[in-house]
Structures are given as C-alpha cells and as structure tokens.
Amino acid sequence: MDDNLEQPNAEAKPLLGNEAEEEDQSSGDDDEGPDWTKLMPASSRPIIPKRGDKEFEPLKQGGSGLQQHILLRSRNAMFEALRATRTISNKTVSYGTWHPTLARVSVAVPRGTSMNNVGHTVPREMVMPDGTMKTQKRLELLPEEGVYLIERGSLMCWKEYTIEYPNDGTFESVTGIPMTVQQAYTEMIGTEDLTMDRYQVYAYLKRLGYSVTRSKPPNAFYPVAGLYPPSMSALSSSYILQRIFSTFSSWISGIFSPLFSRAFDWWRPLRINRWLRSEKNHSFMFRSLRFIPSGHKVPIHSHTETTSPYEPFFNLYKPPTPFKKSAPPPPDYQMVVVNARTTPMPSLSELTAIYDNAPELPLPLPRVRNPSQIQGVSYKKNAAGANIPLESRTTKETITPSMTIGAANGLMPSWFSSRTSAPSKQNERRVNPFAVLRQGTKTAIVATVDAGTINIFRFAQGAFETGPWY
C-alpha cells in the first residue's frame, strides 16, 4: 500500500481485491481538466503526468528552457483545439418554441438522437391555420431539457410571441423571437422547480450518458416511472418457509424457555446455565448480549417533519438500461439535489423517509473481475443471474433473487437464529461479508452542489445487526 503512495506517476494502480473496490472512493479523473494534448495528432503529443509531484524544480543556475518549451507546446495544443469552429449538422438540429406561461418548450421539429430520451407528449389546444381550435398532441420539453439541448447546440429555440411578425419562410413551423443561450438560462432556470443547482446536476448526468427524468411528475401527462417489483423477500417461497420455521421455533422455545431460563435480569444480563453445553461458548455469550434494540426496523418514536428538502428529484437510468420515454422503467437510482451551503446533511428521519420508498438491494455479487460494478448496485442486479461468474453458479445455493438481505432479516429477530440461518450463512460465504455490510439494504443518493461543484454521497441503510458477526 505504501508503494502506491510513493509513486508519483500517472499509471493506473493495479486493482486487486479490496483495494480495487476502495479505489472507487478516491477522486477520479473526472475531477480534472481535459488533457488538451490528447486532441493533437498522436505523433506530436507530449506526455504529461496527470497527477503526482511537480515535474521539476527550478535549478539554481537556471534551466536551458526545456521546461518552457514543453509547457509552450502543451499550451499551443489547447489553443489549437479551442480555435476550431464548432459545427453542427442541419439534420440533427431540432426547432422549438419556449412558452413562458407553461414553462415548456414545444418542439415543432424533433431531430437527432438527442431527442430519444427527453421530452414528453401533451395534448394542447392549438389554433389551426384556418383559425379553429383543436386539441393536438405535441412534444414538450421541461426547462432543464430545453436549456441542456440549447447549450449543446441541438435545439434552436424561439420565444413565444403573440404579435404577428413577418415570417420570411425560413422556419415555417416556428414563430416568435429567436433566443440566445444566455436568454434560455435566465428565462428557463427558476421555472418548474428547476434551480441552477439542479440544472448543473442534470447536465452533468446527461453528459455522462444517463437518462434523467423527474421523480415527481410535473403534470398529469408526464410519464410515470414503472414501479419497483415488490420486495423480493416478501414473495419468495423460501422466505415463507423461513417465516413458518421461525414462528414454529419461537413457539417451541416459548414452551421450553421457562424451564431453562429465568426472566431477564437487567443487572445481570449474561447468565450461563451450569449444565447446558450449548451455552458454554463465546458465540452464545455474544448472542445473549445482543439486547439493545438495533436496526432500522426499530421504530423511531419521533414526530415526522412537515417539509423536507430530501425528496428525490431526479430518476436516473444508466446508459445501458433500455429506456422508453413514454413508459420509463423503474429508475436505477433516485437522486436528491441540495445546496451544500444552505442545506445541512439529512437527519435520520429524513433518511428514513427516503428509505421507506426505496427498493431493497440484493446481496452484492461475488467479487468480479471488473470491480467497477461493485460500488453501485441497483435493484436490477436481482435479475442479473447472467452476470454471476460461471464458477459460482456450479452450486445451487448461489445468489438467487430470494436471498436478499431482507430475507435474512426475517430470520434474525430471534436469538435462536444460529440454528435456523444455516442456509443463508452458506450463501453469505460466497460474497465478501464486508461487501454485504458496506452495501447495506437500501440506498439514498444525495447530490450536493456548491457554486457549480458537484459532490454526490450515497447513504446506505446499514444492517450490522443481521450479521455476519465476528
């Protein structure tokens, strides 16, 4: 580990086991500015270390200008790259009109792939060319979608204007006053709950290829995301069996426990029976010490706050997720956006409110070759049987959707679980137990924005009380 700290180079660290996973936490390349020299033809590209120690220190006698020369070369590369004229094909430009009263951009001419996952159709009363009114469906964009497309050069936007003015026939389908990018920013941000912070998060995610929609539909025609499949643990047959088994065993123990154990004495919590062999080991001792209520299932006796800034605002779909904009599937993630300076971090009750509506995560997959997947587990990994490496599929008891942490939860309330939980223990051996604890059962994602800098945290609902124990 020390070795990695020592190396001042730009080589990717070899990702091994735990370290690979933790690597996700350190700052990534996405935090840095672009390397302009990459835009030059390969032959003239100098190599610049991306991070690490300073490349050189000034010499006493002064250098020969080598460093100056290298620096100049890189700087020129940047200017060359910036100097190029930005062009866009006419075939991929859409035309739209901004309606300030509706806070929507209606798209008269949708073109290009960037329209595939933005916008929704709304029936609106419209004046037909012959002067009659008619309800017609049209494609409309939310303000953030409008600003994003305008800024990226995919949408030319006019502002709705009531006074007729001569149309020279260039853009037959659009009327109004042409809008600049600046105008779009000033007019569109601030409408329909869109703040600058939220727009910045939206644009950041869109540039990474995510499909982003609103969690709370802004109007009745906005397509609602599909519901999460009902909690896997509640349905699976093994869970029902476990329930039966655990009620049965607690019933049995209810009969026998008065014979062996006394009432719980708070001044002497640990009682080891003189005779019973099963109580003469350390795991029994640890088990009998687990009497302080724990876990998120314990009710919080507190009054719920009236308004919370912690309501999911965006639904996120990863690039590979099949996304149909008229009927979006359940989102991969839901994200809250807050201002880092004005909103303190969420309180326990605010987090609990998010968890109440969040889907339960499956157990993490056994360690995979490509560790980039480990950090973000979405609910869909339930169905990811195909992702499980072959070697772990050889036994039947590998991850099945039913074996969620939730299913294990059902077992744990009784302290007799050491006997009943044998199958789940076998199951857990396949995955890294620390990964299970680290992932938690549910997740809340909060993007904090401070003057344009975005930092995103993940608050997972922990379940230490469900084991594994040491």
Binding site: D29, I272, R277, H282, R290, E465
Partner: protein
C-alpha cells in the same frame, strides 16, 4: 495501528501469525474449563449437557475520576484484558502495554523489535527513499536539460522508470548482507555505552505502566461479564454495580453542589449514548477501539488490531426522539446536530484514504414525554435506546454507468 506489522491478507500464515492466533485465541475474558475426556462427560455430551466451568479471571481496577477511566495496575490483569478481547490501552504505549518490554529490551538490547521501534525504522527508511527518489528525478531532469541544450532534442524527463526507484524497487542504501544486522550492531553499540554507564547502578526495573479502560469498556466488563471489580481509589473498596452505574453517569453531569441532592439523571448522558453504541458493536463480535485518530468515535476490527486493519469507522450520532428535549438539555452532546457537508466530506475522505468505510451510528435518545426518567436508575433503560447504521460513501456517476 499496530497491525502495520502484519502485511498481507488474513489468510497468510507465518510463525508470527500462528503465535498471535494462539495468544489472542479468546475473544472475551471469560473462558471455559476443559475437563479431560471421560465416560461421564461423553454421556452428558450426548444429552447436551456439560460439566465445564466458566473461568472468571476476576480482574481488579481503580476508578480514576480525573481521567474518566479505570486503571488496571497489575500485569496479570492487564495482560488478560488485552489478550482476551483487546480491552484498554497502555498509558505509556500506543495500544498494547509494552513499556516494560521496551525498557527491558533497552537494557538487554536483544529480542525482537517492539511495534514502536518498527515504526521508527519504517519512517526513517521512507524518508531516505524519498530523498533517493528526488535525487534520481533531478538527475534525469538534468540529463534532459543537457540534451536539449547541446543537441536541441526534446526529451521529456521521466518521473518514473528504470532509473528512478519506486517503493517496490528501492532498497535501503546501506545494503549489507543483512540490513537488520547493521541495525542491531548499532543498537548493541548504544546499549554497550549505556550498560557501561549504568552497570554500577543497575536496579530491578519496575513496571510503571498501567492499562487504562474507558468507562464504556469498564462497564461492559463489570456489568455483562462480571469479570472486573472496580475499586474506589480512596477506600480501596470495590464499588457495587449500582454504584458504578450511578458514578459513571454522574461524572458527565454538572459537578455536585455540596449539601444538595445529586443532579438528576438525564437520558442524553454521553456515557449512556456511547455505551449503547459500544455495547451494540461488541455484542456483534467486533473489537471496538477508539477512532480519535481518524476523526471518528470508534473503529471496528474483525478479531482485533493485531490481525487486520480496522474495517469500519463509526461516528456516534445521537438523535433526540423529541427535539424539545434537545432544546432544554444542559448537555452539549457531540454530533447531535447534523454535520455540514464539508465536515462529512472531511471525515469520509480521511477514512476512505485509509481503506475504512464511514458509518454513522444513530443512537436514539428516548423522549422524556414517552419514558419516565426513573428507568435511568438501572441499565434497564437501554431497552428504550436504539442503534442503527447509515453507511456513507461517495457516489461517482462516471464510474457507475454500466
């Protein structure tokens, strides 16, 4: 911490590891007698019964008000409590009370290095490595300058490569057949000096170190396992469990006013809140140590600090069930208000840098309106507290696209 000595995964063998497995084989101070096999025993075993006895080490410690800790002064008790569950900390050492061993070693100048010495040597080595590397980089840069000056050819000076030592390739420059031998010689040289000086006044070395237990640790041992009696330093008499319970709470309350009743017990006593968290993780089998060096309250070790690095860093976040209780409270309970984002980021950065996962352990404090404060007279009040975790990590969308 002291686990730095043990590089490599938990499955790596080696004599040292085996020795540790032997020394630290008990997770708790209570152990069970192992009666020799006999016929009676095997019959009882079939019936699920056994005659094995619980062996209680019956340790003793002194309560110290000013440091809010319990001092274990005998070497036997210190050793038991450290080796069986890693309780406490030597007051003159980093963790395990090793002062006496270090002193003896200084006198005899042989035997293995203590963890403090290993650390010193590592630091010296690392410093030398950085100097060597800087020199090598400067040399390469100077060569590139010369080439540019004389031939006009641009050679970007390398920051790594065959000519520049890395952590993997660097060796201490005093490469003798055995680096350790050199070190030992040096030490024995030192020791000879001291020996010659001190030889006339050689006196038996007294162990000046004690093991100090936090109040949470002490109460855990005294209450649950009944293996620690806590003595009043003034009277030398053991305190009863209910006296301990009251004393440990009152030390966090306002100082008593003479000739007036002691201050009323409070639900938000820091002792109770931290004890609930400490007990929760201990009961799950984790070894819980102080996390002050990592901006947190506790660190969780699987098995113990000599085996692995801590896996989780715990911040205890008290939550008042009734926000009004917080307003009228006289206790300034740490972390009871939400962190700013910058502070959360700070703790998370500090811990993810050392491969630990940050956990916010929320401990709920019962509302006065819901629970009568009379329950505070006994540990039964813990039934009204609850502990739950929230795991904090950064979410980086650029890495999670597929």
């Amino acid at each position: 911490m002291s686990s730095n000595r043990f590089r490599g995964g938990p499955n790596k063998g080696g004599p040292r590891r085996q020795e540790n497995n032997r020394i630290y084989r008990y997770p708790l101070p209570l152990i069970f007698s192992d009666s020799p096999p006999s016929r009676v025993r095997s019959i009882l075993g079939l019936l699920g019964l056994s005659l094995n006895q619980v062996l209680n080490p019956n340790c003793e410690g002194y309560y110290d008000v000013s440091t809010r800790s319990v001092w274990i002064v005998t070497q036997r008790d210190s050793e038991i409590l450290w080796r069986r569950g890693f309780f406490g900390k030597g007051n003159l050492s980093r963790s395990e009370p090793s002062w006496f061993v270090r002193q003896m070693k200084d006198r005899k100048s042989k035997g293995s290095m203590t963890s403090e010495e290993v650390r010193e040597k590592r630091r010296a080595d690392r410093k030398q490595f950085k100097l060597d590397r800087a020199a090598a980089i400067a040399k390469v840069a100077a060569e590139a300058e010369t080439i540019f000056e004389t031939e006009g050819r641009v050679v970007v000076p390398a920051l790594f490569g065959p000519e520049i030592p890395s952590g993997a390739t660097w060796k201490p420059s005093t490469v003798e057949p055995e680096a350790d031998a050199g070190l030992e010689q040096e030490q024995s040289g030192d020791a000879k000096d001291t020996e010659t000086k001190e030889e006339p006044e050689e006196e038996p070395l007294e162990d000046m170190e004690h093991l100090q237990l936090t109040l949470q640790e002490a109460f855990f041992l005294a209450w649950n396992l009944d293996c620690l009696s806590i003595l009043d330093p003034d009277t030398d008499e053991p305190l009863s469990l209910s006296e301990i319970w009251m004393t440990f709470q009152q030390v966090y309350l306002a100082p008593p006013i003479p000739n007036s009743p002691p201050p009323e017990l409070q639900f938000d006593n820091p002792f109770l809140v931290h004890y609930a968290a400490y007990h929760h993780y201990r009961s799950l089998g984790w070894v819980v140590k102080s996390g002050l060096k990592f901006c947190v309250d506790y660190l969780l070790y699987k098995r113990g600090p000599v085996f692995t690095h801590a896996e989780f860093a715990i911040v205890v976040c008290p939550v008042y069930e009734d926000p009004q209780d917080q307003e009228i409270s006289t206790t300034q309970l740490q972390n009871s208000s939400p962190f700013t984002w910058s502070w959360l980021g700070t703790i998370n950065r500090a811990n993810s840098q050392v491969m630990k996962t940050l956990i916010l352990a929320y401990v709920t404090i019962p509302a006065r309106s819901r629970v009568s404060r009379s329950v505070l007279n006994s540990p039964a009040c813990f039934a009204h507290y609850s502990v739950r975790e929230v795991i904090v990590r950064r979410f980086i969308p650029a890495r999670m696209r597929d």
